[in-house]
Each structure stands twice: as C-alpha cells, then as structure tokens.
Symmetry: D2
Subunit: 333 residues, 4 copies
C-alpha cells in the first residue's frame, strides 16, 4: 500500500486526492493547504485524510511514501526537493519547475536516491493521445509535416505565470510524446492587455526533418477551442478535444508531387479519401496516470512523463520567455 501526501488543494488538488484514493494499491493519508477553507473542504470530502497547513508534515512524514505537489509552479522546486531529500517519490503538477536548472537538480537528486519523478502531463493518458501515439508509431501518417495546436478560451487568468506557462505545457508535452523529431529552435510573441502577463501568445517550434509546430494559446477567446492538426505524408488527423464523440478524425487526404521536374498544375496529385473516427478509450486520464505512478514505484519502471519529459517541456517554456523578451527572435534550444 502506497501512502500518498498531497500538497495543494485548490482547483486540481481534489481530483488528485480522489484518483489516488480510488486506487487499490494506494491511499491518501494527508492533505496540506495554507487556505483553511480548502482544508475544511478536503476534510469533509475525505474524512479519513489528515489535513494540515504545514507542508513539512507532508514532506517529512514517516508514514508517507510519495508526495504530490499540486501548487503554483514557483513552489514546485522547493517542495519536490524536500520530498526527494526525505526519500519520497514525487508527483509534480505541470509545468515541472520554474527553470531548467531546477528541473535538472531534481532529476539528479531523484536518480541518486533511486526515487521516481512523475510530472502531471495528464493528456498523455487520454484515449485520444494514446491512439495518436499508436497511429504515429505504426507509421500510419508517414513523414510528419506539421503540428498545429490551438488552445483558447475565456480562461482563468493566472497571476503568477503568463498564458504560455499556463496552457502550453499541455501541448508541449503531447508534441514531445507524439513527435519523434526534437525541437531545434523556438520563437514566441504575445500581448499582455491587463496585468502585465501575456494573455495570448503564438509560438513556433522548429523541429528536425523540415517539420514545424505552432501553438496558439489565448485566455481572451470568446469560444473554447482545443484542437490540433497533424499533417503527414500519408494521412492527416485532427484531435478535437472539445468534441465529446469524435475527438479524433483521421483523413486519408494528401498531396503528392507526381513529377517534380516542372512546376505545372497537373503534376500535383491530390488524394481525397475516407475519414475514419477511431473509438478512443473514455477512462479518466488522471486515474490511469495515478495508476501508472503507483506501478512505476512498485515495479521500478520509468514513466513516459518522468523528470526528463518535464525538463524538455521546461526548456521549451524557457525558450519562449527568452524569445518574448527579444521581440519574437528565434531562440535555439
């Protein structure tokens, strides 16, 4: 039985407690939050859990095996470091850390002490992303041309990070998981209309093999759009996360240059075939992720969303900030 302590019981914390509580091999023994109202809600919803407003009662508790850090990003490093130093495995909310150096240090400590780090890249455990991973691994899309992501809505303004650090970790982690090519350079531009933090931004990531990725993130959109287009040589697909029934559509469409000696119209051939909407698994992603964390600890496995995956996302976020501060200049990774 894995004993879990959870730090942070705000928007996302309750889901973490609920899912770790639902596992046969784990239980949540303590929850920490500085907000007394949040603690009262935790106590009411989970009477068996020990509430505390002192994080040291989590990171240093003898009866706790693993700590979930579900707090603002600025606190991740310090809390995760304490937990690791006390011999706890850590589950850290995305983004992993506020800087590349912090992520590298946490990875180093965990590896030295043979502890597990999992970064909460929840989307990797959704049915749609797992199906896309399978399609790409099976080479159904062929050579990849582009990855084009839009994640916008009238969002909850964050007060410590800009829209890139809030929304892009979802998409960076999915791209990192799906696309074999590695980022070589990043450019980002955005605008802050209210509190000095960018509330909308556009990010371009150049990858190996002539591939390009683009991310549109926006807290100021009247509609909620969460869609990703992936264009490949053999097939193209759309992942529309707000569509309840048809989250994934695979298009047998494409373009071929039949004869690239000339430049005339007739030499381009278009393919317009069927569309396929594969059934995707509807199990709650966070439940599968919690289960994976438990399995990695018990059976000494490495999760796909380990500290290194978290670090790769932080490197992209960090490069975005450098580019933002330099007028959208291309920043080499």
């Amino acid at each position: 039985m894995l004993n879990v302590g959870v730090i942070g019981y705000g928007y996302w914390g309750p889901n973490i407690v609920r899912n770790f509580s639902s596992l046969d091999g784990a239980r949540v023994v303590a929850v920490c939050d500085r907000n007394q109202n949040s603690l009262r809600q935790a106590a009411r919803a989970f009477p068996a859990v020990r509430p505390t407003d002192d994080c040291n009662e989590i990171v240093a508790a003898p009866d706790i095996d693993a700590v979930a850090v579900i707090t603002p990003v600025s606190t991740h490093y310090e809390l995760a470091k304490k937990a690791l130093q006390n011999g706890k495995h850590v589950f850290v909310e995305k983004p992993f850390t506020a800087s590349v150096a912090q992520a590298e240090e946490l990875i180093e400590i965990a590896e030295r002490k043979a502890l597990k780090i999992m970064v909460d890249h929840t989307f990797l455990f959704t049915g749609a992303v797992k199906k896309m991973k399978q399609l790409i691994d099976d080479d159904m899309l062929g050579e990849l041309y582009y990855y084009d992501s839009t994640r916008v809505n009238l969002g909850i303004f964050q007060h410590d990070v800009n829209v890139i650090w809030d929304l892009a970790p979802h998409d960076f982690s999915v791209m990192d998981y799906l696309v074999p090519q590695r980022p070589s350079a990043v450019a980002a531009c955005g605008k802050a209309h209210f509190n000095g933090l960018e509330d909308m931004a556009y990010i371009t990531v150049h990858l190996g093999g002539n591939m390009i990725a683009h991310f549109n993130v926006n807290w100021l959109s009247p509609v909620k759009i969460r869609s990703t287009l992936i264009g490949g040589e053999k097939k193209m697909l759309i992942w529309n996360d707000v569509d309840a029934d048809e989250k994934l559509k695979v298009y047998d469409k494409g373009v071929e240059i039949v004869n690239n000696e000339g430049i005339y119209d007739l030499l381009v051939s278009y393919r317009w075939g069927d569309v396929w909407v594969p059934r995707v698994d509807q199990v709650e992603a966070l439940r599968l992720e919690a289960d994976c964390f438990l399995d990695c600890i018990v059976n000494d496995k490495t999760p796909v969303n380990d500290g290194h995956a978290g670090l790769r996302v932080v490197k992209l976020l960090d490069a975005c900030n450098v580019s933002l501060r330099n007028g959208g200049r291309l920043v080499t990774i």
Copy 2:
C-alpha cells in the same frame, strides 16, 4: 454603358465576366486568354463576347473603357500599366502587384490620368465583412485587442507564389478594412514541403495600440477552416466563413480588471452574456463589387479597395517575404 474587357479566363475569370455582364450599366465586350480551350469555353458561355488571345486587343481596344486583369500576379503590373496608359480604368485581381514599387507606379499613373483602380478584395463586399465593419465603426467591440485569422484547407497549390501571397491577401485586406490601427511590424515563418514554395505559414502583425494580428495560412490541411476571431474590450466576435447560416457570432463576453493594484484572482471579473448572430446580407459579393466599380467610374468616387488599399496589402506581403528569408525576424513596415 461601360464596356469592359477581361484578361484571364481561368478559375476566377468566368465569375468576373458573369458579374460584369449582369450589370445594367456595363457589358463585357472582349475576353482574352492564351489558352485556346479557355477561350472556347468563354465563347460558348458568353456568345456575345469577342474572344482573343492577344491582350493588346483588350488594353488598346478603342471600344473598351475598363480592363479587368484576372491573371497571375506576376503579369498584373505590365497589363494594368498598358491599360492605364491607354486611358482604361482597371480592375485588378488580388494581390495588386508583385512589388511595392509596381503598386506605387500604377497608382501614380492612374491619379495623373484621373482613372480608377479597383483591387479585387472581394471579401470587403460580403455581408459578413460589411456587418463587422459596421459593428466596429459603431464601437460595439470597444478597444480592439487582437485579430486572429485561420484560412486553411487542402488547397490548390500555386506554382508562382507561396501560400502567403495566395491566401493572406484576403485576410490582410479584411483586417486593413476593419481595423483602424495601422501595422507597424510583421514576422512570418513557414515551411515548403514540396516545390520550394511555402505551403503553410504563420504571420504575426503588430499594430498600434497594443493590438496584435495573427494569420494561419495552409494548403496542407485536411479540413477547410476559414475563421477569424476579433477580441475587443466590450465584445468579441467570430467570423466563420464556412458556416452557411451563422457566419457571424457576437459574444457579450469579456474580462475586466476590477482593481489593478493587486494581482489576486478576485480582482478579475468575467462577463458571460448572450450571443447574437446578426443576419448578414447574402447577395453575391462579386456582383456588389462590380457594381461599385461601375458606380465609382460613372460618379467619380473612390472605392474602399482602391490602389492605395491594394498597396497596403502588398506592403504586408512584401514584409512577410523579407521576414521569411530572415528566419522569422520582425520586419518594420
């Protein structure tokens, strides 16, 4: 009665001939194309029109008052110049010219000879764009925050221009018409996967007053998306051009910083109100545009899509090319 000669009878030319023919005050007297098959089709569809494969029989014909240049952009300058020099008004397909200098010279000739130039920015004459213009002019959106446009589909690859020069003129001309702020700088990046011409690109335009515009153009998308989000202080809207019935939706949604001294959650106020789908005029835009061209000639008016509007679009396109060739660097307009 305005006598019109049309040069170019490919994809778009038949629509031009049909619409100018349908006006009470105009008639198409001659059509020119180098392709004999196209000429035969013109002769069958419009028996009263004189077919020719020599453009001089149009630009220099004594019985022709106005010339429509519906040819690839590389030929616009030469054909329009000849027509103007022969005292003809000109209607030029978008984009106006292949360079800023060409556009400026054509404007100069036309003004000197008191002739009209109209650039075929057809979208300005659609019901949706006219309605948006009215909403913005009436200050219903308040201060504008952003203009975010997507125009993608499995497109007809062009062989003389990249996807920016093919698709972005539509959106640049609409933004130019709707948004009072003027562009100050442009950045563009894209990829060419086939014939050396970019088949997908992302463009950012910085405008006065902290406003930003972004354009996603792509010939390699499995789905056809033509949508524009405009975010304003008071209201936000979507123009979805592929929706037959609800092309325009106006959202009474927004964000206000109630108290900008602090940075805490409670100080941001969200507004979630009704949505309004205004009825938009369904008359064929090209017909209204042809009618406007006639009216401007007969009554000596200046169209909104005159040579200067065409030039402003060409300046943006030109800056995109400079940015593309310089790794996405920001290019001042």
Copy 3:
C-alpha cells in the same frame, strides 16, 4: 432541518443523496437499497448516512420528514403511499406512477394529510427550460404552432418499461410546463426489436388551438440527439440539450400570409432575421429542484412539478400505451 430518507441507490440515487446533502436546510439520514453492493457504495460515499435494505426503515422512521422514492416505476405507488400514510412528504422519480388511478390516489392522500408531493421532472429546473418558460410567458414567440422533440441515442435498455415510459416523461413534463394549451388526443406507434418492449416510438399529441406536438424517442440511435423545435407565430426556437454552449437559439424567422384571398407565391412573406443565443443558467438542475422541494415544505408552497403535474404526464403515457396496443389509433385524453 429537513431529514430525508432515500429509497433506491442505483443510477440516479447517488445524485439525489448528493444534492439533498448539499442543502443547508436538509440532510439525508438514511438510504435504502436491496442491493448490498449499492449500499456499500452509499456508505463509503456518505459515511454519515444510515444504510438499510428494508424500506420500512425509511417510510416509517420517526426521524424522517420526507422520503425520496428513486426506484423503478412499478414500485412508486406502494412506497409513496406508505410514506404518505406515515406522514412523510414524498419526492418521486419520474414517471410518477404506473397508472392514472395510482397517481390520483396518492394526490388524494397527500392533500388530505397536507403533505407535499414532488415528481422529479428535473428538466423544469434547467436554465434552458426556465428561459423558454420566460420567453413563452412573455409572448415572445406569439401563438404556438408546434412542439417537435427528438430524444434518441444508443440507450440503456430498460427491462420493465418501454422507451416511451423511459424517455418521454422528460419531454411530456417540459411540454406540460411550457405550453399553455392542453392535450386533447394522443397517437403512438413503435417497434420492439429485442425483448418485446418498444425500443423506438413516435408520439403525436394534439393540443388546443391547432397546435401539434411530436416526440421521437429511440434507444437504438447511433447518435445522441436531444433537441426540441418550437414554432411560433412571432419567433421560433431550438433547444439543443447536447450543445454545451448554445443550448437555446431563438430565431427571428417566420411566415406571414400577406393576403390570403389568393394562392399565389408573392402573397406569402418570409421573415429572416437575427438569431439570439440567450445565456442560460448553468446551476445543476437537481440542486435547484431539491432546494425547491425543501422550500415548498418549509413555506407551504406548491411546486410546479407537484402530483398534478405528475398525473398529467402519466395520463399521456397511459394514452400512448392504449394507442400502441391499437395500431396507433388516436386516443382522446
């Protein structure tokens, strides 16, 4: 403080317990189910609630003021009757009873003993239905022409009732609430493809004032459709319950006979105006309904979904069965 006992902890029971538990003025003191596994789940989710498999421990418990009957319809009458006879207010799952006589008897007992009956017509408490009620009461739609409802999906087959008794109570209760005209006759036809109970059916209800209503209910549809069209003289509307953001659309569209002396085309006038998507309240309907039940008991009010409303729905269901057994014959109400 109202003490509530809940009988039936299957699919819907947990929502009932959760919502009554969340009210300040009520608490759930006991839950009854014959299924031990369901009882264990209730005990785990609501540790403070007394579990029992004997319904008499609910209907006759001295500390219980109101009983929620969330069981199959065949048991409603007996359980509600016992509860009423023991002086408990009752909240009964839809449909109210299995027959008209049962409903009438329960109403009679409740009125004699000054007890409240509420039938769980949850949809009456949704934001969309409340907004439609307001629009119709304000005469925004004008004279009503028709009510056309579709409620289909690959549904959970019931084993005690056909698709009409399962799905149509939702729509009958909404129509009963919204439409001032009263039903005069009903016709129903359907097919049973599997277990002898109709899995799809079409129902026509004739109402006063030349109005007609139609209901399409189907457990065998590959897609989930829950939409209702209401046509009126002044305006028309769609209630699309599966649309997360635009549940209600009001169309300024219509037809007028300008001159009904002749029968020529020009004398019909069509109106194509704007569409309006009113914001609707997003509060959980069942919570509002539970709150209303409490309020009616405490303050001696009559809910819209009282026993008489439940009876009107049962009369329609009963007429459907008669029509089904007589080849779709029109049955007078």
Copy 4:
C-alpha cells in the same frame, strides 16, 4: 443525338435545360413556359433553344425525341400522356402524377409504345445515396430496423400541394430504392396553419420484417435539417445532406441480446466501435440522371426511377392523404 423539349421553366427547369444541354449525346431544342418573363430568361441563357408558350409545340414537335415535364404535379398526367401518345419518351418531375390511376395509365401507354418514362427522383443519383445502396446491398448494415428521416426548413410554401406531396417524394423515393422491404401500411398526421394545406406532417410507414419508417416534413422550421438515420443489426448510419464534407457516417454501434431468456441488464450487450465517413462522389446528381435517361433510351435499358418507381411513391403519397383525412388512421397499401 437526342432532341429534348422542356416544358416548364420555373425554379427547376433551368437546371434541367442546363444538364441536358451539357450532354454530348443530347441537346435541348425547345423550352415551353406560359410565363413570358421565364421564356425571356431561357432565351437569354440558352440562345440556341426555341422558346414557346404553347406546350403542343413541344409534345407534338416532329424534331423532338423526348419531353421533360417540369411543371406542377396537377399537369403531369395530361402533358406526359400527350407526349407519350406522340411517341416521345418522357422525363417527369416528381411526384410522378396526382393519382395512382394516372400513373398506371402512363405506364401502360409507355409500355405499349416501348417508350421510356423516367421520374425525376434526383437523390437516387447522388453520391451519398449510391454509397448507401452499395452498403445495404453488401449487407454491411445487417437486418434493417428502422428508417428515420427529417426534412425540414423555412420552406417555400407550395400553393397546389401540401408539404407531404412537396417534400416526402424525395424521401419516399430514396427509401424505396434502399430498403428491400415493401410498405404495408401508412399513417400520417399534420397541421395547416395558413392556407389550408398542411405545412408540417409526420408520416409512419410500416414495412415487412418488423421494420418501420418515419418521415418528418415541415415548411415551418427555423433551421434546415435534412438527415436520415438507418438502424441495422450490424451497423447504423446517418445521411446528413446539409453537411458539405461528411454527408454519410457509418457507426459500428449496436445492441445484442446475449441471452433472451431473462430480462436482466447484463444480458444486453452494447457495441461502441469506430465511425467511418466514406468519401462520396461529388458529381452533380442531375447530370448523372440526365445521362442515365439518355443511356436508357439509346440502349433500351430500364432506369431505377422508371414509371413503376414513380407509381410506388405516388401510392405512398395517396395513402398519406387518405390517412390525413381520417385522423391519422393506418391505411393499408
């Protein structure tokens, strides 16, 4: 070369003239309409065609081989009869005739004189219907359970026929083509809100093999819906004719009774698989239909939409009228 004469140049006539004109093996030699304005439009659009306001100049013209009757249904019988008696093949707008007897007489004349009748059931030549025909013929859907059609919008009110005779012929002809079972009985109900002709109606058709069909036709709907659900044992499909890109969706969904001895939940098995959107042919249906008419005449073939198909549709329409006049009573075919 087949010489065609067209009677009726109103809403649909121009499409008939255009499509027959575009065939290599046919030409339109004459057009008849009583409305002089329509004749002028025909003359302008098709200068080579002989205009006339006397239908005898079509049905009796020595140079005409086939007559297209594109007039109101009340005139079909007389015009088609004259044409057949003069030895012309006939192409008749749907519905074929105003009565069963008329249809039977026309078929008899045509067969006696070895002439072709084609009824303009255009939908049979669309890519979507042809694809559905193939799927059903290949037994991909398995045993058919139901056919559920909705064809509603703010329609053009007809002045000679009710909404059933206007809209249902489309759907009756498609069902007749796709579904192997034959209708055994029909029930219809509707309402006339304006000019005494039903402007909305619901039709139920009982077919062999426990199959049922239902048709919702309405001229008073604020939205345009043209969708048909077909439920089968193995697969289910939706034909959504207003969706430009995904007209046909095939669902690998269904229900199976695993063990029909009992009536418990667990014995029903649900299948939720992939969705498949087959590419459908985009060629104009009317062009293919015109081509088929020509082919049938030249090569002495029988079209699927021959007089007998037209008669079957008229029998359904006629039964609808009988049912309408008898309070929705089931009428045996």
